[in-house]
């Protein structure tokens, strides 16, 4: 992760202030403000890190926010057991490179102990909630950074930057605190915690443009590559020991890339020739599908799938 290269763009015409911030600078500055607020107000924050692009951007911002000091909080990854191996390798490399502390909560452990049951559809995304909330309670994390963006989904559009969760980690949209100006209220009772979303105001395109500007490294699955996939529910899923392809489904080699990184059982690839960041940006700008619509099976389960999972403590 390299330092910023772009200079501040002075505003163009229209009689604007010469002190206007460029769009990515404004987003970056706001996100850093949020990261520092949490570091200043909470005793034990943690940053959710999946190796996906949003959490990678979040980590990059955290590295910049506290430089030259180290990032003053640990990372937490909820590993479904169905993660892309190249993403896990990337995760471990980044952690080592920056001397970070990483907590891993394993869904497989919970299945092995009989606490969680494998779902008939094989997806493990909803199973992440229990290991996540257990780890938060056990480690007494009082603030949990998530890479969620409000542009992702309707329920996320309602999310505050600071989102209070009760002792059961539940989200109650009716009881959210009003969030006024940039005055974030981090007060909470013991066993409650606050989910914090520094990228709330970013869109998928903003994230990619920032990745390009900052030359941030990403796992290779975000770029077009040949891969063994099969079709299920109109999505290309990666063949693998997690349970695909099943009978009647046929694996084939295709040139694809991923728009999101998640559990292999429910994260679809898209046909693509975009093998560079610039090509990815062009592709996204022209896409007629949202990121989640294109690639997430679990959000299609019902009209309120995301809301229901968030209420239970999902991120």
């Amino acid at each position: 992760m390299t330092p910023a290269l772009d200079a501040v763009t002075a505003a163009g015409g229209g009689g604007e202030s010469p002190y206007a911030l460029s769009h990515p600078d404004a987003l970056e500055s706001e996100a850093v403000h949020i990261l520092r607020e949490v570091a200043g107000e909470f005793d034990n924050p943690v940053l959710l890190f999946s190796g996906g692009k949003d959490s990678i951007v979040m980590l990059h911002l955290a590295l910049k926010a506290f430089t030259p000091a180290p990032v003053p909080f640990a990372l937490l990854h909820v590993d479904t057991g169905h993660n892309f191996p190249e993403v896990l390798a990337f995760r471990d490399r980044v952690v080592a490179e920056h001397g970070l502390r990483l907590h891993v909560a394993l869904v497989q452990d919970y299945i092995d102990r009989g606490v969680l049951k494998e779902r008939p559809d094989g997806t493990r995304n909803p199973l992440q909630t229990r290991p996540l909330t257990d780890t938060i309670q056990r480690e007494r994390f009082d603030a949990v950074f998530g890479g969620g963006r409000r542009d992702e989904e309707k329920a996320r559009a309602k999310e505050r930057v600071f989102s209070l969760r009760d002792e059961f980690s539940q989200w109650d949209p009716r009881r959210q605190r009003p969030e006024l100006w940039n005055l974030y209220n981090g007060r909470h009772l013991p066993r409650e915690h606050v989910r914090v979303f520094p990228l709330s105001n970013w869109t998928e395109l903003d994230v990619w443009q920032y990745i390009a500007r900052e030359r941030i490294e990403l796992p290779a699955i975000y770029f077009a590559h040949e891969r063994e996939v099969f079709q299920r529910h109109h999505m290309w899923l990666t063949a693998g020991p997690w349970g695909g392809p099943e009978e009647g489904e046929r694996a084939e080699k295709r040139r694809v890339r991923y728009r999101t990184v998640g559990d292999m059982s429910c994260t679809g690839a898209v046909d693509s020739d975009a093998d560079t960041i610039d090509k990815v940006i062009t592709e996204i700008a022209a896409s007629r599908l949202t990121e989640r619509g294109a690639t997430r099976a679990d959000d299609k389960l019902s009209e309120a799938a995301m809301e229901d999972r968030k209420r239970e403590g999902y991120f």
Partner: protein, 441 residues
Amino acid sequence: MSVLSDTAADTLRFATAGSVDDGKSTLVGRLLHDSKSVLADQLEAVAHASRNRGQAAPDLALLTDGLRAEREQGITIDVAYRYFATPRRRFILADTPGHVQYTRNMVTGASTAELTIILVDARNGVVEQTRRHTAIAALLRVPQIVLAVNKMDLVGYQEPAFAAIAEQYTAYVKELGGPEVTVIPICALAGDNVVDSSAHMDWYSGPTVLEHLETVPLSDHLAPLTARLPVQYVIRPQSPGHPDYRGYAGRIAEGTFRTGQQVRVLPSGRTSTITAIERLGRPVETAWALQSVTVLLHDDLDISRGDLIVPAADAPATTREVTATVCHVADQPLTTGHRVLLKHGTRTVKALVTDIPSRLTLEDLSPYPHPGQLVANDIGQVRLRTAEPLPLDTYAHSRRTGSFILIDPADGTTLTAGMVGESFALPDPAAHAAKDEGWDF
């Protein structure tokens, strides 16, 4: 989605407001749909859900009403943020609920907005909620208001109905000493004057809602302030490479700082010189409002989170007596004698509510004296005494350093949105001189 590479000055943050059933969600859905900001899968989901409900046409309100209870009741419960862009401008929309029970969410949306769209039903005209929402927008010093007169189809697209509402509303805003107002006749359901000009109202020659959003001048109308940097976090690596590094990190709230500048640290009042400014790791000579920076000083002062760095020659006064206009946003009331926490910038201090001189009556904007308490959604004037001195600007000078929130120390609830200063009217010196009284209530 379109690719823009412009400045944040080309981003318009705006909020919507309006009574229940005035068609706000439909307007927002129409705005997103007709500006081609809705992607195929979202539209398909809406079409599918509408079919399931037995509706003939896709219900665009479903694009925005995302929560179960909202869809069940057909109302918007909570503020939602939407992002869209046209080739001319980028937009962040705070879509806020109209129901009186959720007025606090309108306050939330308006606190960062530069423009508010207020909807009225052409058949009903200006109602109490319209006045309430307009008063809140003026109170929060949102510089621009759009009154969207919706459901023009139900009054036969007739100009007189529109003109009467426009006249009544403009007079009301004038009374508030108000923001700039643009009134637009629309039919959100059919899309008249939302993105495309209406074929039914050739008597109207003004902009459509989207045209106005794309072209309205964005200006920080508040008085320019000297520099303010609330210290958020002290960066001390204590590493072999940086044994003596001590940086004061924060986001500049107002003005410009430069290296070599003499600064004063409040509330202690000690002075020093800026030796270096770093913008996220990169040294810079100057830095300005809204940039997140780290400042290094020549002297080893005792500075911590909550302190405010300002120019040595131009420091604001500190005070323990605060007079403010507030909007109460919590279910539990705020009463005289209430002990609260006050968060201003990065500083949180204990405070005591010493007096509640008045509550605003929204119907006629008259002050109701000494109400004893403020309940949810009340707007009023409050006096507080703080446990420590605070360097406060008035809200008329800065939405960032003139605002605060009150917090319940027992459970952390956000109680009240506060704006330092007594006045309600927008700071237009000419208008002030012309009027014989301000909005002291």
